[in-house]
Each structure stands twice: as structure tokens, then as C-alpha cells.
């Protein structure tokens, strides 16, 4: 039964998109897509509960058995991602942006929801499928729709940054495609488990190593691994705020899953981390991301750009967890997917609230806003504390396991650097909080007219703020699942 429902996870939003085009009524479309996402979330939770403890659900599309047919195969690893993506989609979708993205006229608003649904179905498809070419197809569906979503931001530069994102994303997609092609040449199959079984990676085999290189670079562009992150700050800061929240919370997470899957399931940890020693590249890049991107965030005057650079830094933490290649560190990286989605999603929703009421998220424009918008500002503080990794927030849980994993590896210096880098987060978060609460508003920008954001905006932001504290204090769901997923990945399964 459950495997039949599984396919709905992708099919439902995919079919709902054209339905939106037919319905055309913007309000109705919003409610409809919210309903679809809610169903997807329910399915994801059911699937996660089913596979926990080592279960696997497999569905053969069209009844064709793998490796010939396409197989949807879900274990704890991707069930975790499914739950994460759908949960974030649900929260973001329920955010009432009061008139949608600025550049979209009322009569075309339904297309916006259609694209949103396409993007969700693409991301879910990447996560769910067990077929390499199928991944590529969904990767393109999600990427193309996210280019459109980014371009809808009101500013003229939104179009430019969407174009830049498109160029980079396409290069990434091509690299990925070439990698898959090479793997097909070596193994003669596209089913992931089949590839993994047939592939005998060795350093002498140029084709295999090249395939790995292409895949890793391609995915790293999509994941915005430093120094391939240039598309991200612009894309996140010019996209409509709701879209930034959604992409920050989900898109990079799915790319991370893809990278982990390629490294651990297809090539296997022994080859990647013992023979090839990928960590020699991944670890320094992660640490550079943590410091340079956080450093860049400190000097941003716009809250959205600040958060975007902070995202690049946080991706550094995730890849650092990946490069430890032990259960604790990898689980730390995986749990940070969820934790970062919660805090960054929440923060971008706060940005959306501020933009709606204040009209700008330039830090000078936010001076003294704490008194006018107490609830929005409080959510901002909680998200900020979580970015720093204060105990009692989700950020601390990630840091705890990342540092533990790194120490297990014996990389004491890296452990110190992780902790030091969180102090940079303290600086950029502190800068914002100080402006919001302790600075007097500029004379030229009176804020007397500013009121608290409407409930439809505040509630989703607060759901994530509360989650940031709740999952910072109870971790048996988040860390428990992440740990199981990490052990599964290390054992080479998905």
C-alpha cells in the first residue's frame, strides 16, 4: 500500500501544476497548492515512519523491474530529505505574502503557484528516485523552475541574477550529465544500486575518476560549495522573499543529499575517503567557506545578502560533516540540513515580514524596529542565536556533533576552527540585533507608521522560530533520524 502512495509524492505536485494553470484564480490556486503540499508532507511523514529502523520502500514505475525500469526507492536517508523538503514547503507555502511576488500581475499569479509546485516536485523527484538519468531530469525541472522563481523578484537585478544562476546551474547540470554518461559507459546501467554494484572504482581507472570529478563539481555548483557559490548571494537577495526562504531551506539540502549519495552509495566511502582522499580538498574548502563567507556576511549592509552569505558559510559546515566520513560527523552534517533549513527558512520569512512593513531590509532602515515590530524582531533574535549556535537552539546541536565527529577523526585544529567561525556569526548577527533593538531610527526614515506584521506572515515565521528552540532541546527525531541515515550511507546503502 505505502509503496503505491510513494509515487504520489512526485506525481501529485507535478499534476497539480497544470491544474493551477487551468484554475487561474490566484486565491484558489494558493489554497489548492497549500493542500497539495500538505498531502505531500503527510505522505513523507508516513514514509519516514515506515522506513525508520532500516526499512526500505521500493516502487517500480510502470511495473518495469529495475535495472531496466525506473525505481523509486526510499530508505531513511531520502525519507528524511522528503520530510524536510515537504515540511519546509508547507510552512513557506502557508506564509501569506499578501499579493505574491511584486512583479507578477494579478491575472498571471496562478503561473507563479504552478512554477512553485513544479519546483517542489522536481526536488522531491531528485530525492526519491533510484535512477541516475531520472535524477538529471528532476534536477532540471527543479532548476528551471527556480530560475523563474528567482527572476520574479521586484528589482531589475533579479532578472540578471536569475540569468547568472541559470548559466551556473546549467553548467552544473551539464557536468552532472557528463558524469552520469561516463558511469553509464563504465557500467552499462543507470539504476543507482546497479551502478554501485557493478562499479569497481580504482585510481587507475581514468573514466571512473573523471566521472566522480564531474559529478562532484556539478553538484557542488548546485550546492554552492565555496568557491562555486557566486550565484547564490545574488539569487537569494533578489528573489521574492518567500522564494528565498523556500530555496534556502530546501534546494541546497537536496543537492547535499545528492552529493552524499554519489560519494557514499555509488563510489563508496572507502574509495572516496581512503584511496582518493577527497577530504584533503573538501575539508579546507569547507573551512574557507566558514570563514570567508561569514567574513563577507559581516560587511553586508542588506539583511538578505547577509543571510545569503551566511548560507554559504553554513553549507561549509555541512560539507565539513561530509568530509569527516564517520557516523558522528556525517550525522552532524545531515542534522544540520534540517537545523539550517529551520533557522534560515525562519529568518528569510522574517525578512519577508520586514520587507512588507518597512519596505527595506537595509540594516540602517531597521534601526529601532524592535519596538514597532516586537514579535518579528523576537523571531529574528531566535533565528540569529541559532545561527551562532547558542545552546538550546538547533544550531548548537549541529555544532555539537560536527565538533564531536571532527574530534573523533583527530582533527583538533578543525574543531577549534569550527568553534571560532561561529564567533563570526556572532558578529554579523550582533550587528543586526543591535540595530533592531539598541539604535535610534534615522531622522530621514521615520518608522512611526510601521506596525507589527499581519498574523498570516508572523505565524509561519514563528512556527520555524519555535521549531528552532524545540528541536534544539529534543533531538531524538532530528538527530535520531540523521544518525540512522549516516550509518546507512556509510554502509553504502540508500
Amino acid at each position: 500500500m505505502i509503496e503505491k502512495i510513494l509515487v504520489l509524492e512526485v506525481v501529485l505536485p507535478l499534476l497539480a501544476a497544470p491544474v493551477c494553470v487551468l484554475v487561474r484564480h490566484p486565491r484558489l490556486c494558493r489554497l489548492f497548492s497549500l493542500g497539495v503540499v500538505a498531502v505531500c508532507f503527510a505522505i513523507a511523514v508516513a514514509v519516514l515512519l515506515e522506513v525508520r529502523g532500516g526499512g526500505v520502500i521500493s516502487y517500480q514505475l510502470g511495473g518495469w523491474p529495475p535495472p531496466l525500469g525506473i525505481e523509486y526507492r526510499v530508505s531513511t536517508v531520502n525519507a528524511y530529505l522528503l520530510a524536510l523538503v515537504t515540511a519546509m514547503a508547507l510552512v513557506v507555502m502557508s506564509f501569506d505574502s499578501r499579493g505574491g511576488p511584486p512583479r507578477v500581475p494579478e491575472q498571471r499569479r496562478h503561473l507563479y503557484y504552478a512554477v512553485f509546485l513544479l519546483c517542489i516536485s522536481g526536488l522531491l523527484g531528485i530525492t526519491i528516485t533510484g535512477d541516475a538519468f531520472n535524477i538529471f531530469v528532476f534536477l532540471e525541472i527543479s532548476s528551471l523552475s527556480s530560475y523563474i522563481l528567482v527572476s520574479l523578484g521586484g528589482h531589475r537585478r533579479a532578472v540578471m541574477s536569475a540569468f547568472y544562476y541559470l548559466v551556473m546551474g546549467t553548467i552544473g547540470g551539464v557536468f552532472f550529465m557528463l558524469g552520469v554518461g561516463l558511469l553509464y559507459q563504465v557500467t552499462g546501467t543507470l539504476n543507482l544500486r546497479d551502478i554501485a554494484a557493478r562499479l569497481e572504482p580504482s585510481l587507475d581507472d581514468r573514466g571512473t575518476v573523471l566521472a566522480l570529478a564531474l559529478l562532484v563539481v556539478g553538484i557542488s555548483i548546485k550546492l554552492a560549495v565555496f568557491p562555486l557559490h557566486h550565484w547564490l548571494p545574488n539569487a537569494y537577495s533578489f528573489a521574492p522573499p518567500k522564494v528565498s526562504a523556500f530555496l534556502a531551506a530546501t534546494a541546497t539540502k537536496v543537492s547535499f543529499y545528492l552529493l552524499a549519495m554519489v560519494l557514499f552509495t555509488i563510489f563508496g566511502a572507502p574509495f572516496v575517503f581512503e584511496e582518493l582522499r577527497l577530504q584533503a580538498v573538501l575539508l579546507p574548502l569547507s573551512i574557507l567557506a566558514m570563514f570567508l563567507a561569514s567574513g563577507a556576511a559581516i560587511f553586508q549592509a542588506d539583511l538578505r545578502r547577509l543571510l545569503a552569505y551566511s548560507s554559504v558559510a553554513q553549507i561549509g559546515y555541512m560539507t565539513l560533516g561530509l568530509s569527516t566520513a564517520n557516523a558522528t560527523g556525517l550525522a552532524g552534517g545531515l542534522v544540520h540540513l534540517f537545523n539550517h533549513a529551520v533557522m534560515k527558512g525562519g529568518l528569510f520569512l522574517v525578512v519577508a515580514c520586514l520587507l512588507y512593513r518597512v519596505g527595506s531590509v537595509h540594516i540602517d532602515a531597521l534601526a529601532g524596529i524592535g519596538r514597532r515590530m516586537p514579535f518579528t524582531s523576537a523571531a529574528l533574535v531566535i533565528g540569529g542565536l541559532s545561527l551562532i549556535g547558542v545552546p538550546g537552539t538547533v544550531g548548537f546541536v549541529s555544532k555539537w556533533y560536527l565538533v564531536s565527529g571532527v574530534l573523533e577523526r583527530g582533527w583538533t585544529a578543525a574543531a577549534v576552527l569550527i568553534l571560532l567561525s561561529s564567533l563570526l556569526a556572532l558578529v554579523y548577527v550582533g550587528k543586526v540585533v543591535e540595530a533592531v533593538y539598541f539604535r535610534k531610527p534615522a531622522e530621514t526614515q521615520p518608522i512611526d507608521h510601521v506596525r507589527e506584521a499581519p498574523l498570516g506572515m508572523l505565524a509561519p515565521a514563528w512556527v520555524l522560530a519555535v521549531a528552532a528552540v524545540f528541536f534544539g532541546l529534543t533531538t531524538n527525531w532530528t538527530y535520531g533520524v540523521a544518525r540512522e541515515a549516516a550509518e546507512l550511507l556509510l554502509a553504502g546503502g540508500i
Partner: protein
Amino acid sequence: MSSATTILVALLLPVLAAASCQIFGRLGHPNLRDVATPLIGACTFAAVWRLGGEVLADGRPELVLFEVLPGVELAFQVEPLGLVYGLVASGLWIVTSIYAVGYMRGHHEHNQTRFFTFFALSIFAALGIAFARNLFTLFLFYEALTLLTFPLVTHHGTDEARRAGRVYLGILLFTSISFLLFAILFTWRLTGTIEFTPGGILGAETSSGMVTVLLLLYAFGAGKAALMPFHRWLPNAMVAPTPVSALLHAVAVVKAGVFAILKVVVYVFGLDLLAGSDASLALMTIASFTMLMAAVIAIRQDNLKARLAYSTISQLAYIVLGAAMATATGVLAGGLQIAMHAAGKITLFFCAGAILVATHKKKVSELDGLGRTMPWTFAAFFLASLSIIGIPPLGGSWAKWYLMVGALETGFAWQAALLGVLMVSSLLAVFYLMPVVVRGFFATSPTAGPSGSAGGDRKPIAEAPFLCVAPLVLTALLSLALFFVAGDLASLLSF
């Protein structure tokens, strides 16, 4: 009421106080707000006192809330050291909240509701630290205390206050994240547990170098203990309103740091592991250096609150020194000093605040002749100074006494040096505290004019408001009373 409930009640009462501040403040009843806080404070103290009865009967009341990470619980346990710290923090909170009403109104401060709210929440965090059963719980509340006191430090919202706030957060979070958290994680990695356990959790097989590094990480990581060179946040925090300096930056916050060090020495390292080790020697050196250096700097400060702040840094080093000795006597002296210094130093700050409210004077050099117009305040200042210096019959003398006994017990070749340090430090305390009293009572006021020669026209008494003066007299008497009840404290703290 079971002991677990009592712990919960003791922790939640300050939160209730914060909530009542918000409610009454927003409804526009400042009088109700200012009555509620001391009342709830008294209830908090009563709850902690109740727990004290159990601890005296060798009980260890416990409260386990839930598991946060696998193997790490949010859990509380009351043991003697925590009890002393908890009693000090909650007991002095009552007095301070009365004093704060007089001060804040007398000084016409703005944002009083925010002030009282965060004040109560800080006490919540302090009690959480006091009762923490493991390093995680301790760290959680330790960081919370830093963040909750930040709005109090930046209370005035001026450029100076914000700059001081940045230094405050910067140093405290830098030390706690890069040293303390690292030390905790390292302990977790080495032993697989972070529970406070009598006798310590680090095994005897831990190498001496590792123990030294870890102990220094803990000692500097507890930046609230203001060990040099990470002490600068404390003088900076003096921009806060005086009640904050009095309760938080002489008692709750700074004691949280030294308390953490004491706790770690007793329950993570274990006295047996540390006694006579290189680690102990290293920490003693650092503590002695801080003790003397801060005292010397204190003498040169003209701003009264800054002088008291450096005096606090110097006095905190006594507690660290006691912990560093890693003997039963040393820990006892440290525990006593937590209580004795608290009563003494809070009085001194209350006096400084009372002088500010009554005369708007901040500098020691401006205090000439004030003793005659503010006799109660200066008499209290005198008593408290004696306690800080360590002269009987005031409470402070016991802490110093046991510290000297501990120094003799250490058995190091340089116990004479340690004794010398303690004596010089007391002497320096005379030099930085007594001038205030001497100027107040014996110097002639510059405003008296040439006709006001000695014994001339007596000026009328012009004390600060009653709500300011009564608490400081009370705490001064407390440091006197502590001399006589020190025996009970000592038996409680015998390890």
C-alpha cells in the same frame, strides 16, 4: 512538595517575576510591578532554602527534565557548592530588587519594565547554573546568562553603552564558545560523559599535559571568572545601572564563572587528580597574577565603580586560587569566598549607587567630606571594606583564613610565596578601599568654603532615598553576621 518540584518552583519563580513585570508594566502599574518582584524573590529564596535543608541532611535533590542529546539530559541536582551560590544569588536578589526601585526612580531611568524583566530572567539563568547536574545544563544557562544580561549592560542605549555591550558579549561569548565548549566536547570525547560526578570523571590515566590544557581551557573558558587577560568585559559592564553592577557584576554573573571552575575542579577533574599536579600549579600562578595585578590597577582608578570592578577581579581570583589548590580546604575557602565576597561587594556597589543618586558623583576624588552628609552609606562602605580586606569580625576574614591554611597545606616548595601573595593582596585592598572612607569622613568638603574649617557648621544629613539606604545597611550587617555563621557554611562545604 517533593524535592524535584521544589527545584522546578525555584527555577520558575524568577520567570514568573519576569512575566509579572511585563504584565504590570504594560498595564501601567509600576508600583504593583515593583512590589511583586521582591515578594517573588522572597518565595524563590524560601524554595532554595528548603532545598538547603535536604542538602544539609546529605540529600541530593534532583530534577531530570528530558534528554536533549543521546546521553545528555537537561537535569538539575542540588549539591553544597550550588546551594551556596543559589542561596547567595536568590537571597541578594530580594535586597537588590528593593534597592533597584529606589535607585531607578531616584535616578529617573527609562525602560524600567524591560530592566526589571531581564533582571529577573538573569536570576533564572543563575539558578540554572547553580543547580546544573551536567556540563551541558551548566553551559546552556551560562550562555543564557550572558545573553540575558546584555540588555542590562546596554540599558542606556548610548554609544558608550553599546560599545561596552559589544565588548561584554564579545569576550564572554568568545571565551565560552572557543574554550569552554571546546573543553566540554573534549571531555565528552575522552570520557563519554559530562555528568558532574563526585570524585571526577577524568580517569587517572589522563596525561598530565592533557589535564593542564583542559583545566586552563575550563578556567579561561569560564570568562565570567574574569581571569586575566580575559577580564576587560567586567570594567566595561560598569556602564550598566548600579543595581546591575551590584547583583550581577559583583555576585550572580561573576560568581557563575568561578562557580563553574569550582564545580569542574571538584566534579569533573576530581581533587585527587589535580592535587599537586602541573595543572594546579599553572592555574595557581595565573590566579595569583590576576589577584595582584587587578589590585594594583584598582588603586589607580578614580571612577568608584571601575575601582570596585577591578577589586572584584582581584577577589574572584581568590576563589580560583582556592579551586586551583585542589584540596578540601581550598574548595572550602572558595565556597566561603563566594558568599563572603558577595555580601561585601554588593554593599560597596549599593553605596556607590547611593552616592550617585544623592550627589551625582562618580569619582573617588569628589567624595571629600561626603561621609558627614551620608553617614549610613559611608559606615556601610567601611564595614564592607573591612570584610573585603579580610579583617575580623567580618565574614571575609574566614575565606582568607582558610585560603591561607590551604596554601600551607599544598606542600609546594613555594607555599611561602603563596602566603606572600595573599598578604600583599590584602594590603593592596586596604589601599584601594580605605581612601574612599578616609576621604568621606576626614577630608574637608571643597564646597564648604574657607569658613567651613574643621568642626564648623554641621551640614544636614542628605542620604539617598530610604529604599536605597535600607538595603545597603542590611547587606553590611549581613557581612558582619556571616562571620558568626561561617561554621555552618564550612560544615556544609566540607568535601
